[in-house]
Symmetry: C2
Subunit: 417 residues, 2 copies
């Protein structure tokens, strides 16, 4: 590998942050984790917990040292609210790279109500802006690698392959003159969460232009799976696994539903096409992005971090085939097109050597086994997606619907529908 | 006029907010001013004050009642930080319209340092998002009229007439397929302040789409002048007038410089073309926007609120002709193109009947007279623009420059250069 780097991982206790921290550490980098444990606190607030039993940060770090010999350091800092502390840490440590995962990352949570909408905006926008400010203030020529989302492109389907962040357009002016522009792909976020990542893009564009910051923005698809090479090395290194209606990602939710005999809940027609990536590839992509930084003065480097695109109902059918679970169609709490196509370029990561794991390979089985192993930790009351995007969707969710077969199997406390 | 409306004016103590409040009141609307006096506090922080002596809000309201017979109500609320209070007020009053001026509005102030950058983002983005959330939470079908800025279009010059908010583009995909899209005009903000207004656009787009909020965004040019028909009615109704390097707008600064015998400070070549509007037309435009709201479910209505475009050096020459002041070229503290063209459509306001005041008419003289009348209130130490956009511009400002003739006339305390 290239020379080891000193790397801050903001949000290094989370679903992507923890396995990334381990992966970067295993590659020989010096990793310093920054987290405020907001994700664990939101679990408490929602009364839910990770399907997999995750241990404390101290324990995680101790175990990693014992299995790998490598030291992870940790600082509890709230990036959005402890600006002075963040700046102090950055000036003291002067990292080469900051990997920024420290954002509230669930679309349904971001749409729950005014409190969560405001929290998501203040935390994500305020946090990202603090990081950018701290880099300018500390005069640090550090590479910022940020986790964006495919959702900035919108969920309507472009009608063509979505390029990586930028779009070439032609403009015809009133006098018939033609102008060719390269623009940031016009965003059409579908939730407050996705909105914050669209806002991040504008922040990055500005600070790259005004202060020559070196920034990579990774527009990631929906992550599935839970384990990586490193998290498998000890039970106490296991990654979190969310199955609830707020934080669970669709494929992981299906696998847990199958494991406990709950029907697979498809919202709307299931005709929504989404981009997916396995957690193992997430950590590989972050390492690749770190190894290929943009130059100072260059525009923001935007890459699509995805393996493949699939329709939600095809995904459900695949899980149904593997597990025997039946599929149940529910009203869609999201405001989105019923059906959309999605074609996405991931040319840059492919060119950098990514050969992504796809759904038809073995990991689906492993994720199902984990779901089954920890099935007794599932509280089925938390399975339904209850957050409606607006008044309209709320009314639809509350309508009695004869077609919906309520969940009734097993010993589900509360018998959530 | 149409039926009187109940109107909240957020930021109703400010340079645009106060004359707008009076104008709407004089048209028979019921006006409720919301402000947290942040603009007065920033004056204290910078050690500067309005050229014109402005009285307290209580006094302003009392005098307005005595001269017009109309009642203005006032609530001291920090829109960005007192969400509960804002929501309470909205549910209690259920206004028909909210005019939203409650944002930090100076580009140089927004670039001073990390504190001001962070304040500008948190205040402007957080405040706007709070207003949107409060409308959703209170289920208010209220028309939100927001003051945007021409700066969202960037300062590079498009090479064609800038349309109102949206741009029609053609996209050619990899297979040669053609796609026509209407997109939000791609933003290229030139300061953190302008960045926040670009972010506001994304917030508006999302909430108009997700919650069918009715929103008008007014991309205003640089305002000049100080008095309106209503503020002229009593000395205690006078509007604020900023001449300092942070908050003073270019033409008003030139007029004050001329009034005290300071050379007119042109930054860079003065080849920057900007859009301008007189404060009297600002208040007329707001009234027109209120009278022509978008429908529920319609996209955000975006209008360009400008009268004309001019090059900064032409403006300086005009002021020089009128006043005899000489022009001095200084290094540009902003990161921007040295020269740019700017052509902007203001078709909608023209169609609604706006016949804008242009610079060659009588008001230039009036503004110069006000500058001269209050010249003894000017502290010349506050005239220079000192905020550099980045390290590069800071170095340029600090360079000794033989071409710069330092300011030395009169009794300027401190003899600022």
């Amino acid at each position: 590998m290239a020379a080891p780097k000193k790397i801050f991982v903001l949000g290094g206790d989370g679903f992507c942050g923890w396995p990334t921290s381990l992966h970067l550490s295993s590659l020989g980098h010096e990793v310093i984790i920054i987290d405020n444990f907001s994700r664990r606190r939101i679990d408490d607030e929602l009364g839910v917990c990770s399907l997999t039993p995750i241990v404390s940060m101290k324990q995680r770090i101790d175990v990693w040292k014992s299995v790998s010999g490598s030291v992870l350091r940790f600082h509890e800092v709230d990036v959005a609210n402890d600006y002075a502390e963040l700046t102090q840490l950055l000036s003291a440590e002067r990292p080469d790279v900051i990997v920024h995962f420290a954002e509230q990352r669930a679309a349904p949570y971001s749409m729950r109500g005014a409190t969560e909408k405001r929290y998501t905006v203040n935390n994500n926008v305020g946090g990202t802006h603090n990081v950018l400010n701290a880099l300018v203030e500390c005069e640090l020529d550090c590479h910022l690698v940020h986790l964006g989302t495919m959702g900035v492109y919108g969920y309507g389907g472009a009608g063509f392959e979505i390029p990586e962040g930028y779009l070439n357009v032609d403009i015809t002016d009133r006098d018939g003159g033609r102008h060719e522009w390269e623009i940031l792909y016009p965003t059409r976020p579908g939730s407050v969460y996705h909105l914050t990542k669209s806002i991040d893009q504008l922040l990055f564009q500005f600070y790259a232009q005004n202060d020559c910051l070196r920034i990579t923005d990774l527009h990631q698809g929906i992550v599935w799976g839970t384990q990586t090479e490193e998290t498998r090395r000890h039970p106490d290194l296991i990654n979190r696994f969310d199955y609830d209606g707020e934080y669970g990602t669709v494929l992981n939710r299906f696998l847990v539903q199958a494991a406990i005999g709950h029907p697979l809940t498809v919202h709307g027609t299931g005709g929504q096409t989404r981009a997916f990536i396995n957690i193992q590839d997430t950590v590989r992509c972050i390492a690749l992005a770190i190894a290929h930084p943009p130059q100072r003065g260059q525009r923001v480097k935007i890459l699509n971090q995805i393996a493949e695109t699939l329709r939600v109902r095809d995904l459900a059918e695949l899980v149904s085939e593997v597990t025997g679970a039946r599929i149940e169609y529910r009203p869609n709490p999201r405001k989105e097109a019923a059906e959309n196509d999605l074609e996405v370029s991931n040319a840059t990561f492919r060119a950098l050597g990514l050969d992504p794991i796809t759904l038809h390979e073995g990991l689906l089985q492993e994720t199902f086994e984990i779901s089954s192993r920890f099935a007794d930790r599932v509280d089925p009351r938390h399975i339904p997606a209850r957050t409606a995007w607006s008044r309209e969707e709320r009314a639809r969710l509350e309508e009695p619907d004869d077609k919906v077969v309520p969940f009734a199997r097993g010993a589900a406390p509360g018998g959530a529908a």
